[in-house]
Amino acid sequence: MNFGEFVFIILMLVTMIGALTTVLSGSIIYAMLGLVTTMFGIAGLYVYLNAPFLAMMQILIYVGAITILIAFAIMLVGPLYQKPKEWTTITKFVLALMVSLFSFLMLFKVIMRTPWAGGKAKAFRITTTDIGRMLFDKLALPFELISLLIVVSIIGAVMLALFSKGEK
């Protein structure tokens, strides 16, 4: 086993442990920390695959924005001093297991079918400039559509907040 493989295995373990903590922990704050660990593991995998820009974006968006928002939501609405919850019911657990197994098999099949260009010859050499050019040139339409989607969801969230305020 060389150094690269060793790093890869460590990153895999970090990602998996984080994911398992997210799913299995009874306390919501530990679940959130597990999510953060997973995101860092994935960012590490991106760095390992020579895509530092993607890795930094992963941390900036998922750890910096989304998890912090989740944490904020937990603190605002959650019961603040509740003890970690007991295990959920068996039926719920089995259902969750089935759903995740199903999605895993789907993804597994897709991954196995895709012809991967293997070997070291095709090293990943995309710079930030390339990504920027792609986003505003070739992929301009999808990019704009995604931003439209985000705007719609933001308006929806604001409307929901206003509506529930009016009801009080």
Binding site: P52, M56, A65, I68, L69, A71, F72
Partner: protein, 326 residues
């Protein structure tokens, strides 16, 4: 020298550079905190027409060392009802962003641990971890004051992260690079603060808010929240929060100096001297602000960010992009 070359040939130049860099960074963190604790007392004292620390050593210069020895000697108390793992994790976690940020800051044209082409993104991405550790500290302490401090900190950081990013973007557009070294090199003629005075102001205000300093120190407002998120921490754990806060002040000043004040560029004196002069000037301004401005109210704080800073920085960004495209 021969031995160093031997070591380099065995474990590789990059690794040696990283190790030396890390040692340098740790030394700088400690020395900076010692200087800043002393400077803060002195600045505070003279602003209030007092003399401040003067007993220990000449001008009280040994005082910070005495203070740190005192902190090292204190008992580490773990209150009974804290969430132990979170309580221990928080002071350690707050140090990761601090250490990572130093990796990409160029102290001189040759003095930088690693020049990455995503340099500024590294600092911005990891800076979110400090919010997370404040959150964990507040939650893990199981204390209402800590928790209120943590919630305030998160709200404040969400609000001020956006103008912070938006104020850095015009500079990145002008310099055509995310690498901090390229940005400094691009300021060879004229500093970016001349082109981007508004961006500089917005960045400075937002970064003071990000470091939780007065007038934006609501997460640790002494007069209402005891000490905010670090109420329950004692001894070295408290000192770690303290160290991180002072290092954060240094880092935001260093980024401001790099982005807007030409970094290590300057006549006659060597680059590193210019870098530290500019950085510590900004640090002094931050200390000065603490003893000049009263603490803002929470709604004022959030309104200021969402209604003033974000629109201004957006307009600034659009105008800059438009002018560059002309």
């Amino acid at each position: 020298m021969n031995e160093l070359n031997n070591i380099m040939s065995i474990i590789g130049k990059e690794t040696v550079r990283a190790i030396i860099g890390l040692i340098g960074v740790l030394v700088l963190v400690v020395i900076n905190a010692l200087i800043l604790t002393w400077a803060e007392r002195k600045v505070a004292g003279h602003m209030q027409r007092r003399i401040a620390a003067k007993e220990v050593g000449p001008f009280g210069l040994i005082q910070p060392i005495a203070d740190s020895l005192k902190l090292l000697g204190k008992e580490l108390i773990t209150p009974a009802n804290v969430e132990r793992s979170l309580f221990y994790l928080a002071p350690t976690l707050i140090f990761i962003p601090v250490l990572v940020s130093f990796v990409v800051i160029p102290f001189d044209s040759y003095l930088q641990v690693k020049d990455m082409n995503v340099g500024i993104l590294v600092i911005l991405a990891f800076s979110s971890l400090s919010v997370l550790s404040i959150l964990i500290a507040g939650w893990g302490s199981n204390n209402k004051y800590s928790l209120i401090g943590a919630i305030r900190s998160v709200a404040q950081n969400i609000a001020y992260e956006i103008p912070l990013l938006l104020s850095l973007l015009p500079v990145i557009i002008i310099a055509h690079s995310l690498s901090l070294k390229d940005i400094v090199e691009a300021q060879n003629g004229l500093w970016f603060v001349v082109y981007q005075p508004f961006a500089f102001l917005i960045f400075f205000i937002a970064s003071v808010a990000e470091t939780n300093r007065t007038p934006f120190d609501l997460p640790e407002a002494e007069s209402e929240l005891v000490a905010g998120f670090h109420t329950e921490y004692t001894g070295m754990r408290f000192a770690l929060f303290f160290l991180a806060e002072y290092t954060n002040i240094f880092i935001v000043s260093a980024i401001a100096a790099t982005f807007f004040l030409g970094g290590y560029q300057g006549p006659i004196l060597p680059g590193i001297v210019w870098f530290f002069i500019k950085t510590y000037f900004l640090v002094f301004v931050i200390l000065w602000m603490r003893w000049t401005f009263p603490r803002v109210r929470f709604d004022q704080l959030l309104n200021f960010s969402w209604k003033v800073l974000i629109p201004t920085s957006l307009v600034n960004l659009i105008i800059t992009a438009g002018i560059l495209k002309l």
